[in-house]
Symmetry: C2
Subunit: 466 residues, 2 copies
């Protein structure tokens, strides 16, 4: 039942003081719980016992008195009303945009970006991003999200917030090629990825994050790709989000975004493509050739709320699943969502493709849950570590209290998780074996302090642009 995890932290010296010694049980037992494993067989184990030793799952099987006695846990969490599943994986967000939540809605994309979002973002500083990221983490942990892929500015501040909070994260410095000193920014982003790889006891997996093909040019992309391949880290970018983007990329690169990515060698590294709304048949073929079952690299990050709210369209997820393309789910930033609630995204992923495809069998509850867990882990290249409840994997677990009226009667746990459960049903969130959220209380973050700080920052930002 042992579980060995290499300590691979390469955190710079000046950050070392920020890593708290988290209080946690060395041996934590979840028993009895209904375990929705999301493993290859999609096993659901009633009356299960999940043993957690240090930061890994030591066993998961039917609960017996013998098992419970042998394991001798320091702490036990259990009850017939509890359902445990892999922590949700938010594959695409801009975490500190939580500070802009509700600042501008119901506007055309260009006006929204140019008149509202970018002017406000111009006044952000690293301390703001630290608070905004903490705010995003607080929301994530409360809702059972255990891993966040985040592309944003002042990423060192974001990473500090991730490390301190105990959550798992894939941070990347977003590059907008039109900002000054782009090559210096790229060098910094690569240095960040190198230095923070494995930080936070291995919880931090940096990525590189060129914003898109329409905001970064060939030189930017070449430098980013070389950096990613040199370090063996993945690239996250926006791909075919809007019709206009597809047209603009075609005009400047001579091919669709997906085809351009192939042409420039971007599919030789793991490529996390957010959105993928507007695709043609050749795009699909490239994505399909590049799926992990062929040892390749194209992963789709589906953001249903953001695509609706910004009127980008409906990503053809049913077709992606039919072609066995790897798909995960993301919330996008809180300025275009306006929350970071993976339960809502999962539910939407299961609903909208039925409606738009006129097919009530499209994207089943099981498929939606897989996208939000193991699918997301595959997208981030972390599926050997997280995304399912299996022996030897890191203990990233969401526990739901199934007592609420909207989860009665319990005809089907998976249906309930996707079509009825809410972030508020999460009663405990465990990351890397540590309980980070429990019964309304975050264990590593001070919510009142974050709330006050966020309010002050929001006021300052709004005053700065008025």
């Amino acid at each position: 039942m042992a579980c060995h995890v290499r300590a691979v932290s390469k955190l710079p010296e000046d950050m070392a003081g920020h890593v708290p010694t988290l209080q946690f049980s060395m041996r934590l037992l979840l028993s009895p719980v209904t375990a929705v494993t999301c493993n290859e067989q999609f096993e659901i184990i009633d009356n299960a016992a999940i043993g957690i030793e240090n930061n890994c799952i030591a066993f998961i099987e039917k609960s017996t008195p013998e098992l419970r006695r042998t394991f001798a846990p320091d702490e036990t969490i259990g009850g017939e009303h509890l359902v445990a599943l892999p922590g949700l994986v938010n594959t695409h967000t801009h975490a500190a945009m939580s500070l802009l939540r509700g600042y501008a809605d119901d506007m055309p994309l260009e006006e929204w970006l140019h008149q509202k979002i970018w002017p406000l973002e111009a006044h952000l500083n690293p301390d703001d991003v630290f608070i905004g990221t903490q705010l995003a983490i607080a929301e994530a942990l409360r809702g059972g999200t255990t891993c966040v892929a985040d592309m944003y500015h002042f990423y060192e501040s974001g990473a500090k917030a991730y490390i301190e909070s105990g959550i798992r994260a894939c941070p990347g410095g977003v590059l907008l090629g039109f900002l000054p000193q782009a090559q210096k920014r790229i060098a910094n982003a690569i240095a960040f990825a190198r230095d923070f790889r494995g930080a936070g006891d291995g919880r931090i997996s940096p990525m590189l994050a060129p914003h898109s093909l329409y905001t970064c040019d060939k030189n930017h992309w070449r430098a980013m790709l070389d950096g990613a391949q040199g370090l063996g880290v993945g690239i996250q970018t926006h791909v075919s989000e809007t019709r206009r983007e597809v047209k603009d990329v075609f005009d400047s690169w001579g091919a669709t975004p997906v085809q351009t990515l192939k042409n420039i060698g971007a599919l030789e590294s793991p490529l996390m493509a957010a959105h993928c709304v507007h695709l043609d048949e050749r795009d699909f073929e490239i994505m399909q050739e590049s799926t992990p079952i062929f040892g390749r690299t194209f992963r789709v990050l589906h953001n249903p709320t953001s695509n609706l709210k910004l009127a980008s369209g409906f990503a053809p997820v049913t077709e992606m699943l039919r072609r066995e393309i790897t798909v995960g789910i993301g919330t996008d930033g809180a300025a275009s969502n306006n929350d970071l609630d993976m339960w809502e995204e999962m539910r939407l992923a299961a609903l909208i493709h039925k409606g738009v495809g006129n097919d009530p069998t499209a994207v089943s509850a099981r498929e939606a849950l897989q996208m939000a867990t193991i699918g997301g882990a595959r997208c981030l290249g972390l599926d050997s570590q997280i995304g399912s409840l299996e022996v030897g994997k890191r203990a990233d677990i969401a526990i739901l209290n199934f007592d609420a009226p909207h989860l009665q009667p319990r005809h089907n746990v998976v249906s309930h998780l996707v079509y009825a459960a809410k972030a508020g049903d999460v009663c405990a969130t465990i990351v890397d074996g540590k309980i980070l959220y429990r019964n309304g209380q975050l264990q590593t973050l001070d919510e009142a302090e974050i709330r006050d700080a966020a309010a002050r920052i929001a006021e300052r930002l709004v005053n700065a642009v008025h």
Copy 2:
């Protein structure tokens, strides 16, 4: 500040014993709260005081010490973190289908109905419907829904649950014309509407509920329309939910569902039309001519989740709003949703029409909130009583705790209510001046008892069909 409400209960003698004497403050003060009134001017009052005397709103204005002293409340609820808005109005559901939640998903409509839903429903009895309705009410009250329009079988049992719980409801006996003794069923439904009108201290407003034009024939409709007009109650029915329905109705009645309703005189009574997904230009003209601003009667009950889940399509809500047609929001039953969460419906109503219409300005947050409150009240003919926070209206109020991370910072309360708030943020639900839910505790329902009873019923039903 007085508020006179006529007691109009015509509850049959044998039901009188079921009406509990609810404990409540004679004078309840909400202060300070942010009041989102949803009145004609859509006023939002910061630091507001809302005085509730008996079951009505006695005043709503800026909070002052003088006001608070003069009112001398028996109880005060307040805090800067509290946002009060009109209780949400669920205009279309089949409440006791909560018992079938998650029993069958991701299936084609016909197969779902014929092989799963109807066979299980055949084993329902009145006691089951009582429990199923209680389960639905528990979910509604926890999420700030204060009024429910419910069409289902064994409606006397449903009404009993509504009356006892203290919630406001518009129950109607659903008529499927192909069931035996249809005319006797119609007579019973009319007698029910007559006897229960004004029951529960005026909280019960029955309606008649022919299922649809494709399940009820001319004689059924004639009898229902005569009954409705005789009593002055409204009719609720399913209209143009699927393409197949439109075709079937055209084949048997010679016109679209909306045009047929006009042809048979159904628009001479208030007509609550659930779904309205597939409409032509003439349908729109009829709906527009019949909107309340012309003193007429066509009201649309929009059910976004159900329309997606059953792949019915997207109701053209943007166009309805442009034409000033009255639109409310409903959850439909929990077998096709799978919950009764009006926050999710409101959010979807604001999101999907942007996506499908390629217009990020479609259905603003304000419009979505209006549909879920005053719009719903208009649909049910109750807008003189509920749907907005205004002096003299019944005190049906949802109070949200805005402290959660997903509601920070508070750039825009209305945006947060629609795009970020969740049912779980509701910390108190007041109906007719009585606090029915507060901080996790329902005041008139025993959740553990309902949960156990629902589990037993579900087991019995499933065993009966296997």
